[in-house]
Symmetry: D2
């Protein structure tokens, strides 16, 4: 059901035109004349109405605006599926009572460093190893990642530690190669509305970790997930990683409000990346704890054995010792909110 609000003083002829259009599309119209405005209730399954049809009504003579009552996302909504989606990745569960932690360096740099980090985070309790082989970088002059070599290193790290691999896909042409090595495919914030990429991962049989774009509303994020689900892949993990606001004291504004809102709107698991979210290693711990307290289903944390030498985002990486302490603290918080780690 949608509502068409008419301008004051709209003529009967204009109203009839709108109603006729509605009927030609298979809807019924419920005209309701108020003291200041007349509105038309559109009866029928308006969930099938596309944005362009809405636009075409909005430019009709006499129409002030359209109020959409139905949410534009369907398969991702709680109304479609009340039960939480649970995603199994090797021996790990995402979306259950236990809170998984994805840890590792921002970018894969070399094998020894990666193996060292993998062992450290494994020992501290992390359940996934992360690392970028293809890196979206603001500057063309920055390190763009090791490519397939980086993926091979990640596979080595998995072999050694048993930790499944989360890594980013940037280009539909890299799908085959990513599929060969990754356990979870990450779609980065800057590609959240790269609709072609979304369509492609929608056809795969592989979990997708979808990061919220810098200026994406929660609705936008759910619509991006809908692209993936609508193609058949319903193993989607949503990730809050900070939005862009006027505040410059932090790299981004980690929006923890998104956790309860998303948990209310969708059945998909919601994880949080405090490292990118706040952008400074010394503030990652409080934000990670806050995320768990707010109900996050998982965390993604940057860890590096030597942030000083990191080829990317050193200033938001924790050293393993700090990560270990944080993991202990997180376990207590998790328990306090009825979860496990």
């Amino acid at each position: 059901m949608d509502i068409i609000v008419l301008k004051p003083g709209t003529k009967d002829k204009e109203i009839r035109y709108v109603v006729k259009k509605l009927e030609s599309k298979g809807f019924d119209a419920n005209i309701s004349k108020g003291t200041e405005r007349t509105v038309i209730g559109v009866i029928g399954d308006t969930s099938k109405i596309t944005e362009e049809e809405i636009s075409s009504f909005e430019v009709m003579s006499g129409v002030e605006k359209i109020l959409r009552i139905i949410k534009p996302f369907k398969l991702t909504s709680r109304e479609f599926q009340a039960k939480n989606t649970i995603i199994k990745v090797r021996d790990n569960i995402i979306g259950g009572k236990k809170i998984p932690v994805i840890a590792g360096p921002c970018a894969v740099e070399n094998l020894p460093t990666l193996l060292k980090i993998a062992e450290e985070v494994k020992n501290a309790g992390a359940t996934f190893i992360r690392g970028g082989a293809f890196k979206p970088r603001t500057s063309p002059y920055s390190f763009q990642g090791l490519g397939e070599k980086g993926l091979k290193f990640l596979a080595e790290a998995r072999k050694k530690t048993g930790l499944p691999v989360v890594t980013e896909l940037m280009d539909p042409r890299d799908i085959n190669i990513i599929m060969k090595y990754a356990d979870v495919i990450q779609i980065g914030a800057r590609n959240m509305q790269n609709f072609r990429l979304l369509q492609e991962v929608g056809t795969l049989d592989k979990p997708v970790l979808l990061k919220r774009g810098l200026s994406a509303t929660i609705k936008d994020l759910l619509m991006a997930a809908e692209y993936i689900l609508s193609r058949g892949n319903n193993k989607v993990i949503l990730c809050e990683r900070g939005i862009r606001t006027f505040e410059t004291a932090t790299r981004n504004t980690l929006d923890l409000n998104a956790i309860p809102v998303l948990k209310d709107l969708t059945h998909l698991p919601v994880i949080v990346d405090p490292s990118h979210g706040i952008g400074r290693w010394d503030f990652v711990a409080p934000m990670a704890k806050a995320a768990v307290a707010a109900g996050a289903d998982g965390l993604m944390i940057e860890v590096h054995t030597n942030p000083e030498e990191a080829l990317s985002d050193g200033d938001q990486s924790l050293k393993p010792e700090k990560f270990k302490i944080l993991m202990k603290e997180l376990k207590i918080i998790a328990k306090a909110v009825g979860r496990e780690m």
Copy 2:
């Protein structure tokens, strides 16, 4: 120390002019010619340089920009005072290990309702009663508060429960009347840069709860606090209550990132108002828990016995039963981060 960056190709004459100006104001200049740019280091106590002096340098011929190295706030900074400020209000401490909770209705409506709410929140463990007698309302047609009558009701509630009173001051002309009844004076988000009001409360001997403005950066908030401290009143409590961003799924975006950032920059206590922050009662609990997990020194929560009949902000108020449950959950989180409630 500040840095003056010169445009490429700036003439010696222009540089000499800038240096002469610096010297006339009592500073030394350290000229450093790099390969692409020349910069002038300003040696001396630049903390006394005012914004207008900065502006006057920025318009000088040859000057590209000024980089300020010194933070513009002084008395509020951790560098000025390393130890946390602790504020005593009757028998309560704000800024210590124990986390105080300020609870109550948005606006004071009538005595019986207020007394009922006060007793309920007291029993649940709240340590302050809040309620607005003067209400800043977006619409001139909305309920503007009971005025002094409301303050008297608050005093009644204090008498009955022992809870100190937090209430908002909107107008310098109301200071005497507010001083008569309030234990803590609240400056609302919309008045955070009402500099006259800040100056006035700066001369009082009464704690001030200063709410962050909707579009105030963390620096702006600290500068507003600086107004109060610079007049002699150093009993200032900062309150994060949500900022305005592009996201419309929540009333505001509660910015929990502000907690670790503020705790790093200032010695003042930092509390959080999740009710205004996220704006929906059913999401207040997760955000309150997240705030405590992130290190907040206190909470401010709207509670109403009958939100359906509330004269203001009913949709963000918890009922006493829900508040009671939340308080229990918060105690566990507080303990998990080494605090008490």
Copy 3:
């Protein structure tokens, strides 16, 4: 007319409760059951429904949300008054075909400088002199204005040039003194939601120039104007002066979109302050021209004979020569859009 959207699966009992509440407030309910949702159309003059009544419906069991169809501002709306409001200030008209220009320094500093600037801007074609005697400053350590002395200087400048005076009111306690000297009272961006100040100027017989707040939506600005009009003063001039966004290349983001939107929604004159809006003197000219091209009813421009020595905002002030050139260019643009200067 408002629309109450019910949650899917709402029980008849809950619907009846909502309807009963509506009827108890004098409204009729038009229930319309769609395929996915039931909505209740509220029949009657809902313009009198306050925000708190809306809130009280939103928390009712079974209610998902309320869609307001009626705009919350009334007296300021085009629907209330179709004809443009025209405000006469001495011999000048604001809101007519001719575009007035308010020019002068940010702050009044001393008499000779002010008189010099006043003569220069008068000769260039400005129609009002501006200058702050009470200055809202981010830092307590910045120049706060000359107070009444500054107002006297402005009166001197008016006497010498005939230009009416625009100056800012910050505190209700300064009303008498401001009334004595000002022709137009300015309410600054930071006080746009200082509701007490708005109520006070609402009772005066003096034009009010109301600046848009840094994070004020267009609706917020119109609600602030509504405060003034609802008290009886309908001589309100709206002023776009830049909003706060994520962009840091400019001091603020001058939102010229606000011009056509405001001209559509309200009958009040809309002027633009490009100096504060973009914050750099070398970009004031293009933005001033753009404002006139977009339909602005007036301009407010900072001019200073010696920006290097200005006690406030020197980096956004034009020198008189530049202002003179700009005024000539503006005349041509004004003519191109059917206006005069």
Copy 4:
């Protein structure tokens, strides 16, 4: 030259460590001890320092922050090339005195409609035809474009009218097919940081119209252009098309401030898309005029013969009659600012 700001109380050992690191990378260090802070000036060509190297310094013990003095974009900067870049497309010039207008429907729908629109906009004075064959749509259920068939229709329209074709590329796999039909390749706002796509078009010999992302700063936009230029393609046209802010009265906030700022920072032409920028057809005309008055080098305007039936963005499209009137008005504004149309 960059500046490393040290924390108060940094030890000599820490300073020496930073200096040694700088020297190991081939830089000289200029240590300057002020009264409150010590800063290190980095002497040498710091333009080659990558972001990750900056990060690695920021995490060093004793370092508070790094101030970058050199702009991170090079080939796109005015410092690199003082003269405006002029791009020739068939017989049209972008970046010269004459202001080109790119007009047409949002999406290509069918041949007769496209031909009709092309003729209409050609007659009104447009110099390019636009139309999407591949459409990035927020919803997976919306019309996604005709694909190659749409490109063929555009080629038909060009054949008939002589207007060169501007159309969007969304996927690196579509490059060959787009190259076959397009005269200018558009990179949409949602792909502005699709770095792989930028790299690909950087290797082509074809002008690229790069739209600013919804939350892209001006610096981000220039860095995205730098990706293209750094690969060898310097025919880049920048396009302001609205940013995402808190304001909801307009679809986006068209940021005309970007025009003078970009013209100052870069030699690349800057065009404006008021249709997407403000998002309502009835406000396109004032914003288009404002853009020209502010110094835009071109315009991109949606025109549709029948917005009511448009398959995409009907509510922001002008009808040809309105477009014709607008073009006449724009010519006058262009002349008023010393340009031609």
